[in-house]
Amino acid sequence: MKQKILSNEEIAPGIFRMVVNMWKEAQKACPGQFVHIRCSSSNDPLLRRPLSIHELIPETVGVLYRVVGKGTDLLSKKKRGDVLDIIGPLGCGFRTKPAVEPVVIVAGGMGVAPLLFLAQSLMNVDRHMRAKQALPQNRLASLPLQRRDVRVLIGAKTREFILCEEEFTKLGCSVDIATDDGSYGQEGYVSSLFEESIRKKKAGQVFACGPNAMLREIAAMSARRAVECHVSLESRMGCGVGVCLGCVIKTKGKDGISGYRRVCRDGPVFDAQTVLWDEFISRL
């Protein structure tokens, strides 16, 4: 559980990409799973912080995070060679199906974090990574990629917060961009891009991560067109492994009966139509 940091770089204002050597555990990781990181060896902050697995690179795992408080601030100060206490991979990830197309991926802001790993997996790249076939320098150029119709829609406040465009493109995904201020791509929300996209062509599966208001909209739009939609959700976590029942959200089950489910263990990825959105959002 003690893992060595290989790099930790600021890739946009306040946003860091950290690569950690934790291959033994991460080899079996699924897109949508997260790692639980102890940011300080003292009692402040006390609890671990959950971060999604952002990418699989041979022998290593990458996370992408924004500095929002004490824990992430401490993380951002870590250097190559420092050792971190990490548990994971944890949770249930995105449930992808082999032949449904197109796959539409919707990322809002930091929501891009788990979705790059998802795209890697859809394109089969993670299989090569796990087999350690890729060269770190030209990670993707030499790989025989899966040809799948994967459409990635990325939204952020401004141009500088549009992350991973190049990575998705290299994987062979089509990428469309929206910014709130129009500084890059279409002006407006990524949900408008999504509406256009599914109007033109019905999606096979939709995967989304981002602010809750955005997720609720994507969920509603998907429901109107009867498209399967999975979202990755956040909640404040204690244990991260399912014992404390601190991270629950209310969902409705197949039988229509609602109940609490654990974001850390039953999620963080949920079928969007099972989430009771009003309750979820009002409770944050």
Binding site: D44, V241, V243, C244
Partner: protein
């Protein structure tokens, strides 16, 4: 030298390999942590409070972190005693460590029904009676000596297993409640449960917990817990299980010097699932270094002149 140190602890008839237990509500049913740690290395595990019927628990958010502390308002979200018997206890028989079932009810009658449902169930080493959950309604037995004694008497009648009474720190005189539990028939006292507390979001001007208030645990409450363990262990003849903010072997030893025969690790499991295991090793090293041959030799030896 280490080999000669005896960590075995007999807690009111519960025979444990060592005095370090996992606290209720912080270790699930043992299974979730099984892939991360060796449960056999822990003295005993105390399961999440179980009630007669399944309970949904409180509205989220249920957790807030505070300086060196964790504020929780789970609300005894649990699967109910029947599901516990059918789905969890059978698997726990092979856990390789004593399993203590923690019970809760809204009133005496409910407690009695839960204990009746557990009668003759295999694989239970002891019962912990939660008199002190800060996050649910019902009678707060831990704040009323007569009610506490009455509850223990009623549960005692139906229970042949070692019985532990778990107390709340939010009382005027903890020794009165502890003595009442002893008189009611408890075989041991455990303390403390989390301390009633709250936290507010100054931007939204709303409480940070869905339940408004919750219970504070973690290092922030440790000094309070140590004092209460010290007071209670002097006041009663039955053994005391100390808990509240234990993160390390030295924390655990503090509780033992103050009079705890055993200790329980709660919030620290979330921070480092190996905490209990590391504490077991740390206590062993401490005993060896200080020339003790058995862990019982440090219980209550605090020199408070």
């Amino acid at each position: 030298m280490r080999e000669s140190v005896d960590l075995t602890t007999n807690l009111a008839g519960i025979r444990m390999r060592n005095p370090v237990m996992a606290a209720s509500g912080t270790f699930g049913y043992g299974e979730e942590y099984a892939s991360l740690i060796d449960v056999k290395k822990i003295g005993a595990i105390v399961l999440k409070s179980v009630t007669l019927k399944p309970r949904d628990g409180n509205v989220p958010p249920r957790l807030v972190e505070t300086p060196a502390g964790l504020l929780n308002a789970i609300g005894i979200h649990n699967i109910g005693v029947e599901a516990l018997k059918a789905e969890k206890l059978p698997g726990l028989r092979d856990a390789g460590t004593p399993v203590i079932v923690n019970i809760w009810g809204e009133n005496v009658n409910e407690f009695v029904k839960v204990i009746e449902a557990l009668e003759d169930v295999e694989g239970i080493a002891g019962i912990e009676v939660n008199l002190s959950c800060p996050n649910v309604g019902g009678t707060l037995f831990a704040q009323d000596a007569a009610a506490a004694e009455g509850l223990l008497e009623n549960v005692r009648k139906k229970c042949a297993l070692p019985l532990i009474a778990k107390l709340s720190p939010q009382v005027t005189d903890i020794t009165l409640i502890a003595k009442a539990c002893e008189d009611g028939g408890a075989d041991a006292i455990s303390l403390i449960n989390s301390f009633p507390a709250m936290a507010i979001d100054v931007e939204t001007k709303r409480p940070l917990l869905g339940n408004v208030t919750g219970g504070l645990s973690g290092p922030a409450i440790k000094p309070i817990a140590v004092k209460m363990v010290w007071e209670v262990s002097k006041a009663v003849k039955i053994p005391v299980v100390g808990m509240g903010g234990i993160m390390s072997a030295s924390d655990a030893i503090e509780f033992m010097l103050a009079g705890a025969k055993a200790v329980a690790v709660g919030t620290a499991n979330f921070v480092n699932p190996r905490t209990a295991e590391e504490i077991v090793n740390g206590i062993g090293n401490y005993l060896a270094k200080n020339g003790f041959s058995s862990v019982s030799q440090i219980v209550g030896v605090l020199d408070a002149r």
